[in-house]
Symmetry: C2
Subunit: 277 residues, 2 copies
C-alpha cells in the first residue's frame, strides 16, 4: 500500500499543544504536520463550552482547508468539549483529542485505583477526565485540581524556578498528603509537561506521571496504522511542519520554543484570521 | 447646573479593571456605572495592537449603546493602543485611559528621576508608559519589566502566597538592586494592585508605589468636573453598577470579587456577544 503523504493537522489555543507536536515528531518521523495556534483567543481554559466549540470548529476547518488527513486537538479544554462535534463536522477526516489517551494511560498506570488529574479550570469543570476514566473502569477514584497558574508559569518559561516550585507545592501537596494518596498524576493540560521536574519534586518518585502529549502521539500512531493513513516519507518533507497563528507570530515563536523544545523561526509562522473563515 | 445622571462606562479585557471600578466607586459615590469585561477574549496583554484596538472599539460601542457619558479604559494594554482611536470614534463621549494618569502620578512621585514600570508583555512592548513619561518630563529614566505571571496569580486569588512572593522576587529584585535603584514603581496593569503587599515586601517601604486604579479615578473625577458631567445623585441609583461579560458570568463574579473587593452576584452579570455588534 502506498503511503499517504498528506500532513497531520494539530491545533491548540496557543503554544501548549507544541508539547504534543514534539511527541508526534519524535514518534512519527516520516509524517508532515500543520500546526495552528489560536493565539488571538487564548486561553480556552477559562471560556465556556459553547465558545470553545465554536473556536475549535473554526480552527479545524482551517486545517482541513490545508488538506490534512487527520486532526489532532492538542488542547485538553477543546478536547473535553469538541471531539464529538468535530468528528461529525469533519468526517471522513478522523479527529483525535488528548483526553481519551490520557485517561487510558492513567488507568493503565494506577495500582491503587486512585488517580489525580490536574488541568485548567475549564477542563476540570467540564469533568471530561472523570467521565473518560469512569467509562474505562468504574471502580477508579479520581481527584481533580485546576492549576491555572501553571499555564502562565509554563508560558513564561519558568519551568524550574522557586515560584514554580511554590505553586506546585500549593496545588499538589494537599492532593498527595494523607494515608492513601493517588499513585498516578495525569497532566491534563498540554502546557504542563514542561513543568514536570518541579511537579516531580513535590509528588515524589513513586507517583506515575502521565504526560498526555506522549500518550496522544501513541494514539495518533495507532490510528494512522489502523486506517492505513501513514506516510512512507517517499513524497518528501518528512518532519516538515507549517505553523499558523491567529496573532503575534513573534510571541508564538518565542514562547513556542519552550514547548517544542527547539527554535521556531518567527518569519515562518503564518498569520491567519479564523473569524473570516 | 443640574447633575448628569447617565452612567460612566468602564471596560477591561476581564476582571482586572474592577480595581479601577473599585477606586471609582470610592471616589465618586454619586455616580452610576456600567462595567464590561471582555472575558471571552482575555487576556489582551499578549495580543497585537491591531487586535486589541478592534476589541476595544467593540467593547466601547456596547457601553455607548448603554447610554454612558464617559468611557474609562480600565485596561493598560487597551489604553496603550486605543485611547486615540476610541476618542475619535466615540466623540463627543470623552475617553480616559489608565496610562496617562499612571504616568503623571509616577512623575509626581519620583525624587531621583528614575521610575520602574511593571505591566503585561503587550503594554511593555508597546512602550506607552515610556512615551507618556517622556512627554511629561524628558529627564526621567525608566526601566520596564513585563510580569505576565502576576496576572495569573492575581486571577487565582493568590494575593499573598509563597508562590506570589517568589514571583515578585524573581521579577522585581533585579530592578531594585544596585547602588541607585528607581524610587518609584508604577503598577502598569490593573490586576496588580491586589498583589501590592507581596510587591511591597520585595521593594521595601522607601519606594513609592503608584496604583493606576487610584490615579485613574482621580483623573475621571477631574474630567467629570471639567466637562460639567458629574451626577448630583438626585436621579437615584448612586453607586449602582451593571455588569456585562462576554463569557462565563460565574467566573466573572467569582474572580471579580478579588479585584472589586466585595461580592458580585453571578446572576446579575449579563452575558453579551461583542462579535455581533
Amino acid at each position: 500500500m502506498p503511503g499517504d503523504p498528506r500532513p497531520i493537522g494539530v491545533f491548540d489555543s496557543g503554544m501548549g499543544g507544541l508539547t504534543v507536536l514534539r511527541a508526534l515528531l519524535a514518534r512519527l518521523p516520516l509524517e508532515r504536520f500543520v500546526y495552528l495556534g489560536d493565539t488571538a483567543r487564548l486561553p480556552y481554559g477559562t471560556k465556556s463550552a459553547e465558545t470553545v466549540q465554536a473556536y475549535a470548529l473554526q480552527a479545524s476547518r482551517l486545517l482541513v482547508s490545508e488538506g490534512v488527513k487527520m486532526v489532532v486537538i492538542a488542547c485538553n479544554t477543546a478536547s473535553a468539549v469538541a471531539v464529538g462535534p468535530l468528528t461529525e463536522a469533519l468526517a471522513p477526516v478522523p479527529v483525535i483529542g488528548v483526553i481519551e489517551p490520557g485517561a487510558r494511560a492513567g488507568v493503565a498506570a494506577t495500582r491503587n485505583n486512585f488517580i489525580a488529574v490536574i488541568a485548567t479550570e475549564g477542563t476540570v469543570k467540564g469533568g471530561a477526565y472523570a467521565r473518560a476514566i469512569a467509562a474505562l473502569r468504574g471502580d477508579i477514584r479520581i481527584v481533580q485540581q485546576p492549576c491555572q497558574v501553571f499555564v502562565a508559569l509554563a508560558e513564561e518559561g519558568w519551568t524550574d524556578t522557586r515560584a514554580t516550585h511554590e505553586a506546585a507545592d500549593h496545588y499538589l501537596r494537599p492532593l498527595f498528603r494523607g494515608p492513601s494518596p493517588p499513585d498516578t498524576l495525569v497532566l491534563g493540560c498540554t502546557h504542563f509537561p514542561v513543568l514536570a521536574s518541579a511537579i516531580r519534586a513535590i509528588i515524589g518518585s513513586s507517583v506515575a506521571l502521565v504526560d498526555s502529549a506522549e500518550t496522544t502521539a501513541l494514539a495518533v500512531a495507532e490510528a494512522l496504522e489502523g486506517e492505513g493513513l501513514g506516510s512512507d516519507g517517499n513524497a518528501g518533507g518528512a518532519g516538515a511542519t507549517r505553523f499558523f497563528a491567529t496573532d503575534s507570530p513573534e510571541r508564538f515563536a518565542r514562547v513556542g520554543e519552550i514547548f517544542l523544545g527547539r527554535p521556531i523561526d518567527a518569519l515562518s509562522v503564518e498569520l491567519v484570521d479564523l473569524r473570516v473563515l
